[in-house]
């Protein structure tokens, strides 16, 4: 089977960085471009980190810069989790520059070239994708599938109701969910279960390559953060979404109607998910609810051994 042509839209971000490490080695994916968006930290950092990561991985993929904040509201960030520079203080080699087009133009341009085969993997706030849909009316017909890390059918992680990526730009997220392109939502229901333990992280580091050592070291601050909220290890949110995009065989996903609350007083950014209600919403999405954790960790090892 030919690899799937994809664009990786991201806000590196510590777990984005791990997603890069895996995406670089996944034979099922042909990453044609990386687009950056403000999210975990500001756009200047996420773009810088994306460029640094492709250089570190000696990866010949263009990086296009995207939106510096949400479409309709003020920017929020998660620097308390990812560090002030978004990379837990790590500074990667840096000689590359961004490609000329803005992210949304690049998405449309590449989608046209791929003639309906392109898939989008979005692991940050969905601002760039929404901008692309707002600008290009023909885009929905050109995108085969969108896999996102974001949202939750149940509990949020930024507010009780909302997950960070959706909370950061709820209107953009709803534009994406209503675009007509099937959205596969890798939300907290699944990604919280994509847990790697401190021992497993050490085993990755022990593989010895620069990339494997970076993998282990860059997540350590988050391991500390998770420990303080009572979880031993790190939930691999973004990497799990990238693996799902490549091969969904170790996941469980269910057809669902999903919309984003943009107006509630305590629920803004909630991905309201209709799995069984009497309202019977149109099924515009798939809610990815479960993962075989052990198989996930095996796949991570398998990919990291390639470095």
């Amino acid at each position: 089977m030919n690899p799937i042509p994809v664009i990786l839209d991201c806000d590196p971000g510590v777990d984005d960085a791990i997603a890069f490490l895996l995406a670089r080695q996944l034979p099922q994916l042909n990453v044609l471009a990386i687009t950056s968006v403000a999210g975990n930290v500001g756009l200047e950092h996420t773009t810088y980190n994306a460029l640094g990561l492709v250089e570190f991985l000696d990866w010949d993929v263009p990086v296009y810069q995207g939106a510096s904040g949400p479409i309709f509201r003020k920017r929020v960030e998660a620097s308390s989790v990812h560090g002030a520079n978004g990379m837990a203080g790590f500074d990667l080699p840096h000689s590359r520059t961004t490609a000329a087009m803005p992210a949304w133009d690049a998405i449309h341009h590449i989608a046209l070239q791929q003639q309906g085969e392109l898939e989008l993997i979005a692991i940050g706030p969905l601002t760039n994708l929404a901008m692309a849909f707002l600008k290009y009316a023909d885009l929905p017909g050109l995108i085969k599938r969108i896999v996102i890390m974001g949202g939750a059918t149940a509990a949020g992680n930024t507010t009780p109701a909302a997950e960070f990526n959706i909370y950061a730009d709820p209107e953009a997220a709803d534009i994406v969910f209503t675009s007509g392109v099937p959205v596969h939502m890798c939300g907290l229901d699944m990604t919280m279960k994509a847990l790697m333990t401190p021992a497993e992280l050490d085993q990755v580091g022990a593989l010895g390559s620069n990339e494997a050592v970076f993998f282990r070291d860059v997540v350590q601050d988050i391991v500390g953060f998770m420990k303080r909220i009572g979880i031993l290890g790190i939930s691999m949110h973004d990497p799990a979404a990238v693996l799902y995009a490549a091969d969904d065989s170790i996941f469980k996903a269910y057809p669902a109607g999903i919309r984003v609350e943009t107006k509630g007083s305590i629920t803004q950014g909630k991905t309201v998910t209709d799995l069984f209600s009497d309202a019977k919403w149109q099924k515009n999405a798939f809610a990815v609810m479960d993962i075989d954790r052990d198989a996930f960790v095996m796949k991570v090892f398998e990919l990291m051994k390639k470095y």
């Binding site: 509990a155 992680n157 919309r259 629920t267 799995l275 919403w281």
Partner: protein
């Protein structure tokens, strides 16, 4: 008798309300001080008529008063599709043997609580309109409310809309008052009630008890089962009975503590019960949320209650 928990039954019967009341009447841990009706599954006229019929059938000899026609805000919402046109379709029931008292549900609740020597527990199996109004109009009675056991909400999902369960959706403002009240709240939401399923072998077991009330209960369950099967459920979820089970047989339930808020606005989330799973609000839990049930133990509880009516008549 002094060891019995004094309760007020506030509901919108409704099949599962009727079964909840059947359970409450039969259990020697509870003493029913009053019953009140609320607009919900059907109009206030229908739920009040049903309440009086159910009380007459079960022999609940307690004062009864009608709730208001509508929620605290907004228009009434009913669930005629689930409970039928009467709000309690199925077996023939006796005509009510008594009238409603000439006072409102809220005033009957207030009087009952005032007159009680012990703090009173409210079992609310419909929209929280009456309970919310009671707390707004009579805040001085809060110390005399031992707890409120609610069927409503869902920590993760709704049923009437994707985000909201019916009872909370009908009157979110009332629910908001209740959840902010600081009173002890037990929430039997969809997290547990969709697991409180009754299957044909269960209602055949109850039917086989042979007493007239067991027969009616079996027919209610039969009706409720038929409807729920037609919309894809595996069995009949006897939602409201879990709010009573929480008082009389908590050992069959799994209960977790959460800080729960009610969303009253929004495009999609009005009526959602939002639980703080990870403690982000930094608030102390305000809700004992029932999330699991020993289904066999629950069926035993229902069957034992239905059997009690046979012994009562013997």
């Amino acid at each position: 008798m002094t060891s019995r928990i004094p309760i007020i039954l506030d509901g919108d019967p409704g099949h599962d309300d009727a079964i909840a009341w059947m359970l409450a009447k039969a259990n020697d841990k509870l003493e029913i001080l009053a019953c009140t009706s609320v607009s919900g599954n059907q109009s206030i006229e229908k739920t009040s008529y049903n309440a009086r019929r159910v009380m007459t059938l079960l022999g609940i000899d307690a004062p009864f008063a009608m709730g208001r026609e509508r929620p605290l805000f907004g228009e009434p919402v009913h669930a005629g599709n689930i409970h039928g046109d009467t709000g309690l379709d199925g077996p023939a029931l006796p005509e009510p043997a008594f009238e409603a008292l000439p006072l409102s549900a809220v005033e009957l609740m207030a009087k009952t609580i005032t007159d009680s020597s012990e703090p009173v527990t409210i079992v609310a199996t419909g929209p929280l309109t009456n309970v919310g109004a009671l707390l707004i109009l009579h805040p001085e009675l809060k110390p005399k409310i031992a707890q409120i056991s609610i069927m409503g909400g869902g920590l993760d999902h709704g049923n009437w809309t994707p985000a909201a369960e019916f009872n909370i959706l009908v009157d979110p403002e009332a629910a908001d008052v209740v959840f902010k009240s600081g009173l002890s709240l037990t929430m039997a939401g969809l997290d547990v009630t969709l697991k409180a399923l009754v299957f044909p072998e269960d209602f055949e077991r109850i039917r086989a008890l042979g007493n007239p009330i067991a027969t009616v209960v079996a027919e209610w369950l039969d009706f409720f089962y038929g409807f729920h099967r037609s919309i894809g459920y595996a069995g009949a979820p006897v939602h409201d009975a879990v709010a009573v089970a929480a008082l009389v047989k908590p050992e069959i339930l799994t209960i977790k503590e959460y800080f729960v808020q009610i969303e009253t606005s929004g495009d999609f989330c009005r009526g959602a019960t939002i639980a703080d799973h990870y403690g982000f609000n930094g608030q102390q839990p305000n809700t004992h949320a029932v999330v699991g049930i020993d289904r066999e133990g629950f069926i035993d509880l229902l069957a034992e209650a239905a059997a009690w009516y046979g012994k009562e008549q013997a």
